[in-house]
Symmetry: C2
Subunit: 165 residues, 2 copies
DNA sequence: GCAATATAATTCACTTGTAAACAATCCCGG
DNA sequence: CCGGGATTGTTTACAAGTGAATTATATTGC
């Protein structure tokens, strides 16, 4: 590739239309994770655009519902959301009346979160729809593939493989 | 901020320290992809903080190097970067002297990209380091696991499984 | 040739997410 | 009690990324 093209008038190449080669990038776990994640999110939202919550909001609300009395920061850590961002997300959810902040008297620095009835309702609605959307966005995978993928992702994270269900 | 309700209000819970339960969220492909992706990126950057490029910048430069004469938008599409964002990234790389924009005479709307010598050098440097960092961030996986994971991610995307070594 | 339309990239306004400084509170050793 | 230090959450400024409108060029139909 050192054809020493001078100036700005060199031919460079005929013009490879839209077939761009990724080279060995498709063997990079970090790259493939990003592409796959972006693609799956895109598919979920293009499949059904009228969702009442963004995916991140849903996970927050769901975990809040499953962990009454959990500190906001602890939930943020578990979901790998920065505290500063968590503050924004929770404020947004609170303004929409889906969660309540509650400062417990035994440690007035911390903030506990509780679902409102509206919050519980929205989460339940999303839970129902998301299973199908999640599966639909990865429809190329059969059940075994999906289980295997989840196992590998858990393994990366050092999480106990959830054989629960 | 609600006034701390005490007395008749429920105690919520003793306070589950930092053991937050995710429930069945760890069985959601979209959620697990996000968590895994964020974790892997974090690990790569905490492992070696003095990288000359961010991961996204590296992929752009690498693909530019592998596809001389490719339009900027075609590369953006392949990498799932929006054109408006691609403009920013390329401008940043151009300012640092790593790529050159080149408007071909046969279609003066489009922009071709070319690595500069400095760009080539930086990409080569990153290529060397990233293989190890990528593997290090997923050290919990053995070679078979990694190959299987990549196969499944390719399958989600509908990409031909690259068994090319 | 020329208007209408499509395409490529950019700009601008905005959302999402991060980093660093800050304020409030708790804890611990004198 | 009380001062230093740690913890928790918020604020502020910024970076990453998206979407709609804009500019410039190309293409197509008449």
């Amino acid at each position: 590739m050192t054809a020493a093209p001078q100036g700005s008038d060199d031919p460079v190449a005929p013009v490879p239309a839209d077939a761009v080669a990724l080279g060995d990038l498709d063997g990079s776990v970090s790259f493939m994770l990003r592409i796959a994640q972006v693609t799956v999110y895109d598919r979920i939202f293009s499949a059904e655009a009228d969702l009442p919550l963004k995916l991140g909001e849903h996970t927050v609300l769901k975990v809040v519902g499953d962990n009454p009395g959990a500190r906001q920061g602890a939930i943020a850590d578990k979901l790998m959301i920065k505290w500063s961002h968590m503050t924004k997300v929770v404020s947004g959810l609170e303004e929409r009346g889906l969660v309540e902040r509650y400062v417990p008297p035994q440690d007035r620095r911390s903030v506990f979160l509780r679902l409102t009835d509206a919050g519980r309702h929205v989460v339940a609605d999303m839970n129902l729809r998301l299973d199908a959307l999640d599966a639909g966005a990865t429809a190329a995978l059969d059940a075994d593939d999906r289980a295997e993928l989840l196992r590998l992702l858990h393994k990366i994270l050092g999480w106990p493989s959830a054989t629960s269900s």
